[in-house]
């Protein structure tokens, strides 16, 4: 006997929640408990009084699974609103990465040249290293990191995706 799986789609969800202890564990735990995927998860409070956090989750699953993910999130007590940005249509997704590159001589010059192409900022430097800050779609960051491997990549830290629907309306 072999276990079969259906065709998966990637969806980006925006979830607003009451900012209370354990809320992230609740959300993340629901995904593991029900066997859903988390490809990326970011969270930060977005209100002046720190009462509400916005969570951006990138998940993958069959359309039926995605529908369940949204419904399961929606029924959780501290969840205010769940929006499937992918289903909504046009939206922007951005990610920020810090990329440390070490090297001297030509490598150093090449690193700076590439950073310019990718509009990455230098946020730290020593005689033999840089830390670049690069922002954009995940694929852009992937490409930047890939190129830096050849020059002297030391380490990478990424924020995960934040996303927002286009247009003047709030979700």
């Amino acid at each position: 006997m072999h276990i079969k799986e259906g065709l998966k789609e990637r969806h980006t969800l925006s979830v607003t929640v009451t900012n209370e202890p354990g809320v992230l564990a609740r959300i993340a735990g629901m995904f593991t408990a029900r066997g859903y995927n988390i490809e990326s998860l970011t969270v930060a409070d977005i209100t002046e009084d720190d009462s509400i956090s916005r969570i951006t989750i990138v998940t993958a699953g069959t359309p039926a699974v995605i529908e369940q993910v949204v419904a399961q999130l929606d029924r959780m007590v501290p969840v205010h609103k769940v929006t499937d940005l992918t289903l909504l249509g046009d939206h922007v997704e951005r990610e920020l990465a810090l990329v440390k590159v070490a090297g001297t001589g030509d490598h150093r010059i090449e690193a700076l040249r590439l950073a310019e192409v990718f509009r990455a900022n230098v946020v730290d430097t020593t005689i033999s290293s840089f830390v670049f800050e690069v922002t954009g779609a995940s694929t852009k960051i992937d490409r930047f990191v890939e190129l830096m491997k050849e020059i002297g990549l030391v380490e990478v830290a990424r924020t995960g995706i934040v996303a927002m629907a286009r247009g003047k309306e709030a979700i």
């Binding site: 006997m1 929640v17 009451t18 202890p21 354990g22 564990a25 609740r26 735990g29 629901m30 408990a33 039926a64 529908e67 369940q68 419904a71 399961q72 929606d74 029924r75 007590v77 501290p78 969840v79 205010h80």
Partner: protein, 582 residues
């Protein structure tokens, strides 16, 4: 400003304000301040169980039989972890329950202190919601909110973890007003446009069926009444899940019996051949649907449920309506009448159903030498149904036989562990039900294996003089395990024999119960009469046919129409696909 009082007193005040009359609990180090506060008041009655799991099942039984939330009080660490099974059971069966757990003092949390467990972490996935209360100032509001969440929307268990220092520290308490939760707002009324569409579909259907579930019981007695009205005006047949038994009377004309794995031939065939299924407060559980790709292939499906996540979870439906099933049915009846729909001519459909009924799928091979377990349940029904008893069960064959052969006329009379299937549920649930209904006849129909999982609760019934009855169908096997092994594993009975059984009569007597043994068919009626005549708790050890099977049965991986009946050849081996299904 109200006067300051301890967290423990605030808890008692809040519970009193919420109308709590009974708490099921067990003391321990981390709840001593609460127990001291309980000692000094008279409004709330505490029932001392003998194991924390039993406290949760007793609270479930109380809740299911009265419609009020069940309340549990246990200590930290093992007290809380022992309660986890019952909390999960309540989550699966949507039972309103609030569990108060003690916790080590806030400054000790995370230090692996004595009897410390991460209760909030452990119960996060088996509660509807949970709280760790960090100050007495917030305790009162949390308790009120916990009851609000446990009892509204789709009911469920809520855990409130209270550190010991929060129980001792003081703060003012004031009864809060109406709870207006920032994010939790269950949808009670259904969308009227969708309800109108549902009514039109029902009016146009030629082969409709109402598939009812525990949601109708949870909605309250009015929902059961409106279901009867809906069935009457539409003329549609009615079936029910295990959890929904009693919502529609078993003596009603439209009643087909339970559906699903051990449902009747007529209920399952009607589902399979229907052109419209109206699912009312049920959730297309795997025990109901059988093989999903062969489930009700000809039917349009309307699903009415208060939980949006139940929609399209396993079965795709054509018309989902989110709302309280009682309210939605009420609106359906109103719309039906306003549009002057009349009962459609369903005579061809009923003729077909009568042919399926003629199969008499609940029949079983009779015996004159041994007691057939089905006959024992029937005898119990014959002797007690006029008293409108409350029946609880454990889990296994006896549970299914009780569901099949004990006929329920009204809601809140049938208490069983459906979703989680927890052996050991029945006795504590009977204790809870009896406390909520002191004058009712409460019987736990049990198996000899299940009953041993919470047998210590015999003492609880004795202590509080609760006249509950236990009726054990003793076949010396974990019968359902043995049946599956017979059907699936060529009768290799791996570890399913109940060896070294206690003498249940003497065991009962040791706890102060009356014990009765029924060994032969001719003793059945008199034994039951003796049980009923005794004004106190009775344990009946009814020795039944050892290898009787529970039929009809839809085997693993089969569809509704592949039911096995009592006279079919059954023993054998199933393939891996079927073995992998539960």
């Amino acid at each position: 400003m109200p006067k300051e009082q301890s967290g423990a007193n605030i808890l008692i005040e809040a519970l009193s304000d919420l109308g709590v009359e009974v708490i099921f609990g067990y003391p321990g180090g981390a709840v001593l301040p609460i127990y001291d506060a309980l000692f000094q008041q008279k409004r709330i009655r505490h029932i001392l169980v003998r194991h924390e799991q039993a406290a949760t099942h007793a609270a479930e039984g109380y809740a299911r039989a009265t419609g009020k939330p069940g309340v549990v009080l246990v200590t930290s660490g093992p007290g809380a972890t022992n309660a986890v099974t019952g909390i999960t059971d309540a989550l699966m069966d949507s039972i309103p329950m609030v569990v108060i757990t003690g916790q080590v003092a806030t400054h000790l949390i995370g230090s692996d202190a004595f009897q410390e467990a991460d209760t909030v972490g452990i119960t996060r996935h088996c509660t509807k919601h949970n709280y760790l209360v960090k100050s007495p100032e917030t305790l009162g509001n949390v308790i009120h909110e916990a009851f609000h969440i446990a009892t509204t929307g789709r009911p469920g268990p809520v855990v409130v973890d209270i550190p010991k220092d929060v129980q001792v520290a003081t703060a003012p308490y004031k009864k809060p007003g109406t709870i207006n939760h920032a994010s939790y707002r269950p949808q009670v009324k259904g969308d009227i446009k969708l309800i109108e569409a549902a009514v039109e579909m029902l009016a146009a259907a030629e082969r409709p069926i109402l598939y009812t579930g525990g949601g109708i019981i949870n909605s309250g007695p009015a929902a059961s009444q409106i279901l009867r009205e809906l069935a009457r005006i539409t003329g549609a047949p009615v079936t029910s899940t295990l959890m929904g038994l009693g919502a529609y009377p078993a003596s009603g004309e439209a009643w087909l019996g339970m559906l699903g794995m051990h449902g009747t031939y007529e209920a399952n065939w009607t589902m399979n051949q229907a052109d419209l299924i109206v699912c009312l407060g049920a959730r297309f559980d795997d025990r109901v649907t059988g093989r999903l790709d062969a489930f009700a292939p000809k039917a349009k499906k309307i699903h009415i449920d208060i939980d949006r996540s139940s929609m399209n979870k396993t079965v795709r439906v054509d018309l989902p309506i989110v709302g309280d099933v009682g309210h939605v049915m009420e609106d359906m009846v109103k719309v039906w009448k306003a549009r002057q729909h009349t009962k459609a001519d369903l005579s061809a459909w009923w003729k077909q159903i009568d042919e399926w009924r003629a199969k008499k799928s609940l029949s079983y091979p009779p015996s004159t030498t041994e007691i057939m377990p089905q006959a024992a349940v029937q005898a119990l029904w014959n002797a007690t149904h006029k008293k409108n008893p409350i029946i609880t069960t454990e889990v296994g064959q006896h549970q299914m036989w009780a569901a099949q052969h004990f006929h329920f006329e009204s809601p809140n009379k049938w208490l069983t562990s459906g979703g989680l299937g927890t052996m050991g549920y029945g006795l504590p649930a009977a204790i809870g039900a009896q406390l909520g209904n002191p004058n009712a006849l409460v019987i736990d129909i049990a198996g000899e294996a299940s009953i041993q999982m919470n047998i210590q609760e015999l003492a609880t019934a004795t202590q509080y003089r609760l006249p509950v009855k236990i009726f054990i169908l003793n076949n010396e096997y974990m019968g359902m395990v043995r049946q599956w092994q017979e059907l699936t594993y060529s009768s290799r009975y791996s570890e399913s024999y109940s060896d070294a059984l206690p003498d249940f009569v003497k065991l009962g007597e040791a706890y102060g119960w009356k014990g009765i043994r029924i060994e032969t068919p001719d003793q059945l009626e008199s034994g039951i009469a003796e049980m009923l005549a005794y004004d106190g708790p009775v344990i009946v050890d009814c020795l039944v046919a050892k290898v009787a099977n529970c039929f009809p049965m839809i085997p693993s991986g089969a569809s509704h129409v592949e039911m096995i009946l009592a006279d079919d050849q059954v023993s054998g081996e199933l393939d891996d696909e079927a073995k992998a299904l539960v």
